[in-house]
Symmetry: C2
Subunit: 400 residues, 2 copies
Amino acid sequence: MAKETLLLRNVRPQGGETVDVLIRDGHIARIAADQHAAPGAQSIDGENAILLPGLVEAHTHLDKTLLGMGWRPHQAGPTLKDKIDTERHLRREWDIDPHRQSMRQALLSLGHGSTAIRSHVDMDTDCGMEGFEGVSRTREALAGLIDIQIVAFPQSGLLVRPGTLELMDQALRDGADVVGGLDPCSMDRDPKGHLDMVFELAERYGKPVDIHLHEPGELGAFSIELITERCRAHAMQGRVTISHAFCLGMPDRARALSLIDDLAEAHIHIATVATPFRPVPLADDLRAAGVTLCAGSDGIRDCWGPYGNADMLERAMHLGLRNNFRRDEDVEHALWCCTYGGAEVMNLENYGLTEGCRADLVLVGAETPAHAVVTHPPRKLVLKGGRIVAENGCALRDAP
Amino acid sequence: MAKETLLLRNVRPQGGETVDVLIRDGHIARIAADQHAAPGAQSIDGENAILLPGLVEAHTHLDKTLLGMGWRPHQAGPTLKDKIDTERHLRREWDIDPHRQSMRQALLSLGHGSTAIRSHVDMDTDCGMEGFEGVSRTREALAGLIDIQIVAFPQSGLLVRPGTLELMDQALRDGADVVGGLDPCSMDRDPKGHLDMVFELAERYGKPVDIHLHEPGELGAFSIELITERCRAHAMQGRVTISHAFCLGMPDRARALSLIDDLAEAHIHIATVATPFRPVPLADDLRAAGVTLCAGSDGIRDCWGPYGNADMLERAMHLGLRNNFRRDEDVEHALWCCTYGGAEVMNLENYGLTEGCRADLVLVGAETPAHAVVTHPPRKLVLKGGRIVAENGCALRDAP
């Protein structure tokens, strides 16, 4: 009994008043001032730190990070296809083991307070199911520490690479959580064929959809129209996410806002990285229309680029900077995207900071939530299902 | 003798081969492998860390940070004028003491390895010389720890606020290093009048010029033309900097590149923050034309916005992200802007990593310079003129 009870004293949920939070059987049992720990129960003094729900890494690629493999200078050329082809080649040459690498990145995330990750995982006719199997092993190894959703992701194309559909089908039978897709026009050269296939898989396995859409301007807008049509036709409202959706940052504001209204009506979500060097969907446009925005690190230190550290509080800062957010309520919205927004997109159950919620929690030493975002100091404590899983910025479990 | 000699063993200048660096009388005396410390001389093991020249914070506002004053929610409205007016008002209400605040920010910078700072300092008919006097005291108090250049900066306008010229004149007589300016069209409503005044002051006092230019598109382009004309007329080639110069990121690439060629010909420098939410001058365009680009934090946690931490290695990362730099040589160029680029703009003497250079040095634990930029870990050691002034990310001198 005592082991399953934890009293977190002197913490400020979402930066509010100081309270004590009683955690029992993995959930928040009671939030009130001046509680007393049961005899023998563990009690921790939060020293007035801010209590947040576990951060949510809603868009990344666990299978392909180079973390812990020594510095590898970036080699790929400038186009998307250069990056995809270079990566497929280097995956073999450098022995980028998906299990080992996903363990490293997931535990780094956990140290920064992410308690849930949605990871796209490559499947193609070169690597077959290796990525899926590696990340599945990581998901199993870290069960209870961090929730990992696997997106079956046709990174090298679906129709243009026969055999990929069968791999995705296999992955979904073997436990992939989400059906992925990628640039139906520019990559797969057949938007109708690509999207019909993605939504058919989703219907067959009863899984949500998350589609990478890098296509710019009107090309991307066209793909968004096709996705929205299929979301409605398959009655998948609330279960479709478009990742990146750069086209929503197009100069033609009226066109972008009209697309965003359609997305809101179809209850389609957007995932962003807040890329600073190209147009991105603006958080205010999405918020005004009622479209849920979540955020992710995207690739971290991989064959696509050298940046990234898996810190979703720092990602909230990037999101704030990219959207010119300065006021507290706006910076807090950026934080919302990296917590509640991600939880909504991942459909996490009992997520939040109220009694009854699952005790996936992060303690941050900061004055206000906005202060936590702009300074993103090392997390003091991370709890997953009521258990302490990270302290002072580091997961308690060692990575391989 | 021993006190003035320091042997820095096992360091890798700019990430190259491991060597020992002998520092004598504040300068790099000898770079060679396997040196031996003189009897009684101090010797430090760098443990193969990368040795960089002191980072250069080439554009900031030391007088107005709110660091250490508790979290203050952002209050200003969206326009530039809103921010300027709000700040002038809050400066009194919140007692933003320029000396105390500039000490805090300068020492934070030093902890992150910046050994030189160019700070614009507000002067207007409300605050008079208070900012200048406060930052001048800081410059004096930190002499030998960090070099501070003061730009006499008419933040609230020059012609539109009679009396400001006299304050700038006074500041230049009293030791301001650089003549500042601000948006000659949009702020001062008289571009010819404003720029004539700025260049006349520069000529009278023999000082360089650094002009804030937020003006977008063709308005900014016009101001750049006027600045370039005056740079040539006053023979100030190499001594004029334009800060921000957002207009150089205008969609009309041909026009922007033509302006950049003119800047190169007039040897005018650009300072950037790599703002992610608006057009900025692209580092590659400037590099190709031969225009020196330096970088800065701009305002840090002030009435203009809540972001910033004074870390110029992290700024190099922002610059890399903003410019979509992925290859090592490109990320290294971003670092160059935050070191050598800044040193060129500030005209720092004996700057660099060769024998005879002043021993303003930073030790960073990273595999390569690009790795140092993307991870920007706490600096192991910072030397100023051969003296240890910061360790493990913190200046040895306490801030007020």
